[in-house]
């Protein structure tokens, strides 16, 4: 089932520019229920708070390289917690090497997108998670 337009999405990236790019791409796709975190640490807190409030995120879009908690550490934390085991997680990274893909897949990533990407490519990666 495709991701609904009112789906609750969190964008986690330490760079304001990339958060804004992803946010604007998602807005153009019709998604309006968007939240942001500037690192994996506040992102993890927001994920837990959203779950406890009964309104969990439908999709996490997270950068890999962040100074506090990296995207891969956040993903491992999520997958090791029963409540979030199946939470859709799209990893964004600037590093396109094969070994990174393998690490992310082993950690249980739902899909993987390498920068640079267009809105069409982002949509395609999200669609593949929810097909």
């Amino acid at each position: 089932m495709p991701l609904k337009q009112d789906a609750k999405i969190i964008i986690i990236d330490d760079m304001q520019t990339m958060r804004k790019i992803i946010k604007n791409m998602l807005l153009k796709m019709g998604h309006k229920n968007l939240e942001e975190a500037d690192d994996g640490i506040p992102g993890w807190e927001m994920i837990q708070n959203a779950h406890e409030s009964g309104k969990p995120y439908d999709l996490i879009i997270s950068d890999w390289n962040m100074p506090g908690m990296t995207g891969i550490d956040l993903l491992k934390k999520i997958r090791s917690t029963d409540a979030y085991k199946k939470m859709p997680f799209l990893m964004v990274t600037a590093e396109a090497e094969q070994q990174n893909v393998i690490i992310a897949v082993k950690a249980g990533v739902s899909n993987f997108i390498v920068k640079p990407f267009s809105a069409v490519q982002l949509q395609d990666k999200i669609d593949k998670i929810f097909k």
Partner: protein, 168 residues
């Protein structure tokens, strides 16, 4: 392989990466001008994004280390137009809203270059990019290194790529 040859091999993936990133995320084709040797630390642009580089080169069974820097230096007008295109919103001056656009560009381009340097034996470690701005600001390169500057032309205006490479 001479340092000069290594420099050429090392630089090309950054130029190709910049072209790829601009085409996809800035909606502009890039053309590069003639590389020039740069002999002073004054940046050509009003704002520069700087990525420190280090890593190892494995060639003919021998492993050596290297250091370098990748810099993108923009005149203010080009920077604002690039930021406006990338963020899909209008910006006419450099504010906190767009201050990390250049740093994000160096990050993405270096990520692309990193993959494309692997087949030539270069294994690159990326650092966190930084930004320096202001008229006639300086970019401090390591001493005794060669710095090349490559003028880049886009539909948003001219900017400059600067690269340095050093064995060791």
């Amino acid at each position: 392989m001479s340092t000069h040859e290594k420099f050429i091999n090392f630089s090309k993936p950054f130029i190709d990466g910049a072209k790829n990133v601009f085409k996809t995320m800035v909606f502009s084709e890039l053309e590069h001008g003639k590389p020039q040797l740069k002999s002073n630390p004054i940046a050509k642009g009003d704002i520069s994004a700087i990525m420190g580089l280090s890593g190892k080169l494995i060639k003919d069974g021998q492993e050596t280390t290297f250091k370098g820097m990748f810099v993108m230096s923009f005149p203010e007008s080009t920077y604002c137009k690039v930021a406006s295109a990338m963020l899909m919103e209008e910006h006419s001056e450099i504010t906190d809203d767009i201050i990390d656009v250049g740093a994000e560009l160096t990050n993405i381009i270096t990520g692309n270059a990193k993959k494309n340097l692997n087949p030539d034996g270069y294994f690159l470690d990326m650092s966190t990019p930084s930004t320096v701005s202001g008229k006639d600001h300086k970019v401090n390169y390591p001493s005794n290194t060669i710095v090349i500057m490559i003028p880049m032309n886009s539909s948003h205006g001219e900017f400059f790529i600067e690269l340095c490479y050093q064995d060791g």
